[in-house]
């Protein structure tokens, strides 16, 4: 008989993998439980953004900057495994009004610690020669990075396994083991698993999982589509996005919103996003959304008109109503921890999140105050 693990992590995506890694690093015995395969959820249906450019002063930016340091310092030696690329982000404004708004945003962001420079309209082509001429202005964010998210999660799980972690795929959590109020393990379709702590890193399923423990966590799916082109020689050199992107990430709109994000990948393809819709877990391919993404991309890069689209994919961002993730212990169910609800920023924020969570779990003072991410901050559903 092996001893019960210190931590059971539910979910083998980016958040679960990062949590498993930092927990094993802290000397904890870890077991990861995943109902599907490794990296089979939102981690496999996103772009791998590590952004600071879409954030304003506040707890999410603090978490992004902590994550940024974590990616480059603690995890820097492994960066090549997941194609970490500090490509920089370029936010472009089409109108003079948009350019003024962007300039104001960059001033606030600079004051908050983001590295950003305003790019005059006539210098945009030096950074992105294929962008259409006549843009009103741009801002350059050298800290914006990209990783290949599936490789990142799979390698962190591999590294965690090398430190003794166990990963059980095809295992669905059906309930929690309780000792009074306290969560002391999980019930699964393959048997019970006792543990000192249980971490909910279940992505879009995290709200439902919390429900199994009797606690309310309003995490809902927000659907997004991405187009993938044929492989091309380098054409888009940075992460390029339209100024309205920042606004759309923060929007509470239910209906379809699209704002252009274009970037190249190490495999030569160009990824074209982004769309946001609250349609539940509907996996139907919505042609009008794909058309809108294509139209907006061509408005910025008209020379891509003959470039072939090879495929599209869709994913579900796990989001909370206040657009902040849920990180930390749940006082309503002691022993249960959450690392979920990062919406479209989960890959970038995963490593900072995991680090904070493990710090708190092992009795260290976390690098950031966890209060803004507290799971009990939402009013109970009536």
């Amino acid at each position: 008989m092996t001893r019960a693990p210190d931590v059971v992590v539910v979910g083998a995506g980016a958040l679960g993998a990062a949590t498993a890694w930092f927990a094993t690093l802290a000397g904890l015995r870890v077991e990861v439980v995943e109902r599907g395969q490794v990296v089979s959820g939102t981690t496999s249906a996103c772009e791998g953004n590590l952004l600071v450019s879409d954030k304003e002063a506040g707890p999410e930016l603090d978490l992004a900057l902590l994550s940024h340091r974590t990616w480059h310092e603690e995890l820097g030696e492994h960066g090549h495994l997941w194609e970490l690329e500090q490509k920089g982000g370029l936010v472009v404004a089409s109108s003079a009004q948009g350019a003024r708004g962007l300039a104001e945003l960059t001033e606030r962001q600079r004051a908050a610690g983001i590295d950003v420079t305003v790019v005059d309209a006539d210098r945009v082509a030096e950074l992105e020669p294929h962008l259409r001429p006549g843009l009103a202005g741009a801002a350059f964010y050298p800290q914006d990075c990209q990783v290949q998210p599936m490789l990142m999660a799979a390698h962190l799980l591999r590294l965690a396994r090398a430190r003794g972690a166990r990963v059980r795929t095809g295992t669905t959590v059906t309930g929690f083991l309780r000792d009074g109020e306290r969560v002391v393990g999980v019930r699964t379709d393959r048997g019970d698993l006792a543990a000192g702590h249980v971490v909910n890193a279940a992505g879009t399923w995290a709200g439902e999982l919390a429900g199994l423990a009797g606690v309310h966590l309003p995490i809902l799916p927000r659907r997004g589509f991405i187009l993938v082109t044929e492989p091309l020689p380098p054409t888009v050199f940075h992460k390029v996005y339209a100024g309205e992107y920042v606004a759309s990430t923060q929007s509470a709109e239910e209906g379809l919103q699209t704002s252009t994000v274009i970037e190249g990948t190490p495999s030569g393809t160009i990824l074209i996003g982004s769309s946001r819709e609250r349609v539940g877990f509907d996996r139907t391919v919505a042609l009008p959304v794909l058309r809108e993404l294509a139209r907006k991309a061509l408005a910025l890069y008209p020379s891509l008109t003959d470039v072939a689209v090879l495929r599209s994919y869709l994913g579900f961002r796990p989001y909370c109503p206040d657009h902040l993730p849920v990180i930390g212990p749940d006082p309503r169910a002691p022993g249960l921890w959450h690392a979920a609800g990062h919406e479209g920023a989960g890959i970038g924020l995963s490593v900072g999140t995991a680090k904070l969570l493990v710090q708190a779990m092992t009795g260290e003072v976390p690098d950031l105050d966890l209060a803004p991410f507290a799971p009990e901050r939402f009013a109970e559903a009536s």
Binding site: L157, R158, V285, A297, V309
Partner: protein, 456 residues
């Protein structure tokens, strides 16, 4: 034409039979096909003056009559890149053209050669067996002087004899199975007697051209610098491993034609969400009822997509599908004909099943691979990379393998390496729908220019 009653996708034997039959039953039909001339791969021909066969001539004449009567429109040279489900499904076409909307769909897109990676298979001069045949049918072009035809299944024989008749020296036909299978499968040949005649004809042709036929033999390596110059032929044991004690033979050749059965084109069915199943030959196919109906209302399937079985079966299925469309639309159909077609389809399927069992993919083909063997030709993913993703990163199914090692992520979107990827991920266990579906699911069925997507 006003909104048609039926859109048929694919103008091979199944699609042609369906389109013509439906038009003759008074339905308004649109027939969509990627090629300039009807006939599909089976009846590919370079010139309308040279007939690919009497059955084709009959269907073509009826097709022309239906067109002349204003009951059938042909949309040739266009591929369906997206099928939008709905009460009246919409077919979006490339190159840019008005979409086709119709209440009923008969989808008969056919299939293509199934492939297994082998060291050197990406060298120029290595062709899919169907590719070699397409060159011959498309204008008697020969791909080289000395050819080896290898893989498994009855299709190797017409390819070999076709090459020989066009003047290529066929130095070996390598069948990985125990025999050509035809004569040895009583259930199958009894079901379709004409197939026995066909088999005898090919055997005679092989003898006439002095083509050596090797059973339990495979091309396990292909050699050359900028193109094929030689192959290694290996004797296989029952499991498909290279037999120890029988020295492999090196044979000079400048053409290698490879085929391991066929892969049906399932893209449109996966987008529509039709129920799928794994056939005897481990192909993913669409489930149909006794009238060729899929479980998606208004969507019918015919030909290789319901189970690889050849042209005769496809003809029967196409006609039967059209009769179901007509009957479901409330038009009178001859019940006797329906019953006869159902019997023909049943016989054809039994024969196809016997063929599949006689020509399985060798269980141990993975042992032929070397670390640097390319598995995915598009993304140049090697066997070593696949093994790392599978054995170290935990990719236990085809979808995860694709995500972590990129096989199937390139131009062809896994059409060529999809089966092999699913097999490599699954190890020894039998393949399931969940193993194969990720290699066949393509939201965008063929590449479409961004400009066409943006501006329909």
């Amino acid at each position: 034409m006003a909104e048609p009653d039926l859109a048929v996708v694919g103008a091979g034997p199944a699609g042609l039979a369906a389109a013509v039959t439906a038009a003759e039953h008074g339905l308004r039909v649109v027939l969509v096909d990627g090629a300039a001339r009807p006939g599909g791969q089976y009846w590919r021909h370079a010139d309308e003056a040279i007939s690919p066969g009497p059955r084709y001539d009959d269907l073509r004449d009826r097709l022309r009559a239906a067109e002349a009567a204003g009951r059938l429109d042909r949309v040739s040279g266009h591929q369906v890149w997206f099928v939008e489900p709905g009460e009246v499904p919409t077919l979006h076409l490339t190159p840019r053209r008005e979409p086709v909307r119709a209440r009923a769909l008969v989808l008969a897109p056919g299939g293509y050669d199934r492939q297994l990676p082998v060291p050197g298979w990406d060298l120029p001069g290595v062709l899919a067996a169907g590719g070699a045949q397409a060159l011959l049918k498309g204008g008697q072009v020969v791909p080289g002087r000395r050819a080896v035809v290898a893989g498994t299944g009855p299709f190797l024989l017409p390819v070999a004899t076709g090459l020989a008749e066009a003047g290529v020296e066929v130095v070996a036909v390598c069948e990985a199975g125990s025999l050509a299978g035809w004569a040895r499968s009583p259930a199958g040949t009894a079901a379709v007697p004409s197939k026995t005649v066909e088999a005898a004809r090919y055997a005679a042709a092989l003898a006439r051209h002095r083509i050596p036929f090797h059973s339990r033999t495979a091309v396990t390596a292909i050699h050359g610098d900028d193109a094929v110059s030689a192959v290694t032929l290996s004797r296989l044991d029952r499991a498909g491993r290279v037999r120890t004690g029988v020295p492999p033979r090196r044979v000079e050749a400048d053409v290698v034609a490879l085929g391991w059965g066929f892969t049906p084109s399932l893209d449109l069915f996966t987008t529509l969400g039709a129920r799928l199943r794994v056939d005897t030959d481990e192909s993913l196919v669409v489930e149909v009822d006794a009238g060729q109906r899929t479980d998606v209302p208004g969507v019918y399937a015919a030909g290789e997509v319901t189970g690889v079985g050849g042209a005769l079966l496809a003809l029967a299925e196409g006609e039967l599908a059209a009769l179901s469309v007509a009957a479901d639309a409330g038009r009178p159909v001859a019940e006797r004909r329906v019953r006869a077609l159902r019997r023909a389809v049943g016989r054809g399927r039994r024969f196809a099943g016997a063929m599949h069992r006689a020509h399985p993919v060798p269980a141990s083909w993975e042992t032929w691979l070397r670390p640097d063997t390319v598995v995915c030709r598009c993304e140049e993913v090697t066997y070593a990379t696949v093994c790392t993703a599978r054995d170290e990163l935990g990719a236990a199914d085809a979808r995860t393998l694709k995500l972590l090692a990129r096989p199937g992520m390139g131009w062809c979107q896994g059409r060529v390496c999809g089966y092999a990827t699913a097999r490599l991920a699954a190890g020894d266990r039998p393949l399931t729908v969940d193993d194969l579906a990720p290699t066949c699911r393509r939201s965008i069925a063929v590449p479409v220019p961004l400009g066409e997507l943006a501006d329909p």
